[in-house]
């Protein structure tokens, strides 16, 4: 499916997102003015936005998958996930303290991160190929954020907006997949010590490793290989959680250990 937008239009939309990222002021959904925009248009805009960020000196540390759960796919009327790059400047370590006002409308999600040991390329990448190329899994948190006003996103809007990625934190403890099933990997998510959600790996498209194979395959026609060392955020294991200053979020994963983000007090 090709984009309805001309290159100039896609670039124009990308610049508006870039301005929103710089100013912290969200923009109206593109689909308000152009309801016919779909997934291909979203990626056309995303490509221009990514190029603009790369020109500024950003580097790609990995990718995030979005819309990996059935409820989210139903909400946005799609039957596949979406993806966006994760820039190295937005990757934090366990225990990081972040400021709420560095984001527009941040929400927190706990996910399984995959660290690749080898390059991985489509078009015929299977879940087994993905697993074979994997160094291990890491406990991860993602701050999702929307440069689209009030999260009033349709598919094209969130795809354009780097799949609503804000920042990630990943544990340095890379655990090889050995003798366990990533689908059943359990996770307990707490906000200020209170359990707000639990989940298991299967919440991400049925299998977190399947999301990695899917990503390698959709990147293939774009000529992109996932390089060794990439971090793949495989999708939220629960519904996203609101964030307030002073909050402490902790996701405790069976076998992988914990990951914490603290939000600075105002």
């Amino acid at each position: 499916m090709s984009s309805l937008l001309t290159e100039a239009e896609a670039q124009h939309h990308a610049l508006r997102l870039l301005e929103a990222r710089d100013s912290g002021v969200a923009i109206e959904p593109f689909t308000d003015a152009q309801p016919e925009l779909g997934m291909a248009d979203g990626y056309a805009i995303q490509t221009h936005l990514v190029n603009a960020l790369l020109e500024r000196g950003e580097t790609i540390a990995g990718y995030k998958l979005g819309l990996t759960s059935r409820p989210m796919q139903e909400l946005l009327g799609v039957d596949s996930p979406d993806f966006g790059p994760v820039f190295a400047s937005t990757v934090y370590a366990d225990g990081a303290e972040l400021a709420v006002d560095a984001f527009i409308a941040p929400r927190m999600e706990a996910e399984i991160g995959v660290v690749l040991a080898q390059d991985l390329a489509g078009p015929d990448c299977t879940t087994i190929d993905a697993r074979r190329a994997t160094a291990g899994l890491v406990a991860a948190l993602e701050i999702v954020d929307s440069r689209i006003k009030d999260w009033r996103i349709t598919l094209a809007d969130t795809v354009a907006d780097l799949a609503s990625n804000g920042a990630i934190a990943v544990s340095s403890n890379v655990v090889p997949i050995d003798g366990f099933d990533p689908r059943l990997l359990g996770m307990v998510f707490t906000r200020n010590g209170e359990v707000v959600a639990t989940g298991a790996g299967a919440a991400a498209m049925g299998d977190p490793m399947a999301t990695v194979a899917w990503l390698a395959n959709v990147l293939s026609p774009l000529g992109v290989t996932l390089p060794a060392g990439s971090i793949i955020m495989t999708g939220a294991l629960h519904a996203m959680v609101p964030i307030a200053p002073g909050d402490v979020f902790r996701a405790d994963f069976d076998r992988l250990g914990p990951i914490t983000i603290r939000m600075a007090s105002e």
């Binding site: 059943l184 359990g186 307990v188 359990v195 639990t198 989940g199 298991a200 299967a202 919440a203 069976d254």
Partner: protein, 260 residues
């Protein structure tokens, strides 16, 4: 509430189950039904089952998740008792026509190796007294039409206890953090939900300990050999003949329940 006709109410609940026809909430007729009296009605229900030949084989917890407690506007879970006629042996099907409106939910079940009683009992004591944990499916069935009930109604209705099945091979809980054990719940090969053990009151063994402390206040306890269903990890789903529900647990194994 001593003037409440507990035996008569218990008979109505048992009759509803026998005829597979839901009834109206008790609180429509007895709006003042309180916590203690609701459990006395539950006792009468269990005693009536026992006097017609059933044996108490364990207990179960309900409303163990914060979300469900908020939904019911209460701050605590509830418990009920399992009888042998509710057992669905491993690999056997649940016969939907035996129930009014059966629903299934995945749970972790504790098989007690020792008696447990006392107001001091915590999750650690429960783990110490447990010989095996099993992946389990709880078949619940409200005797109230359309699952329309208050907290007091569902207590009186033996916490919707109706059926249960255990799977896996039985696992020693020592050395396993049940809080973190992951679960995927499927119906007919489609993922319904995922969760981890902490969905049950922060720790499934803490739910069992809560039941023991509640029973202690009434001079009772749990016994070696009993099975305690610790509470649902996910929402319950309705089942019909032809369905198959499967709960897969990390570290504990799989339980599968075909519906006939």
């Amino acid at each position: 509430m001593n003037d409440l006709p507990k035996e008569e109410i218990a008979r109505a609940l048992i009759e509803a189950a026998r005829q597979r026809t839901g009834i109206a909430p008790l609180t429509n007729t007895y709006p003042d039904l309180d916590f203690d009296t609701a459990y006395e009605v539950q006792d009468a229900v269990v005693e009536a089952r026992v006097s017609s030949g059933a044996t108490v084989v364990g207990g179960k917890l309900g409303l163990t998740s914060k979300a469900k407690q908020v939904q019911m506007n209460v701050d605590r879970p509830l418990y009920g008792f399992l009888t042998d006629d509710m057992q669905i042996d491993t690999g056997q099907a649940v016969v939907c026509s035996d129930y009014i409106q059966p629903r299934c939910e995945p749970e972790i079940a504790f098989l007690l190796g020792r008696d447990l009683h006392g107001s001091h009992v915590t999750a650690s004591h429960v783990l110490d007294a447990t010989s095996l944990v099993f992946p389990a499916i709880d078949v619940l069935d409200s005797r109230f039409s359309g699952y329309k009930f208050t907290f007091m109604d569902v207590i009186a209705d033996n916490s919707s206890c109706a059926g249960f099945t255990l799977g896996g091979t039985g696992t020693d809980p020592r050395g396993i953090d049940l809080r973190l054990v992951g679960c995927s719940f499927e119906k007919n090969g489609q993922l319904v939900a995922t969760a981890a053990g902490a969905a049950v009151m922060g720790h499934p063994a803490a739910a069992v300990a809560w039941m023991v402390r509640q029973l202690a206040a009434r001079g009772r306890g749990l016994h070696a050999g009993q099975v305690i269903m610790a509470g649902a990890l996910t929402e319950a789903i309705a089942v019909s003949p032809g369905d198959t529900v499967v709960a897969r647990f990390d570290r504990l194994g799989t339980v599968e329940l075909p519906c006939a």
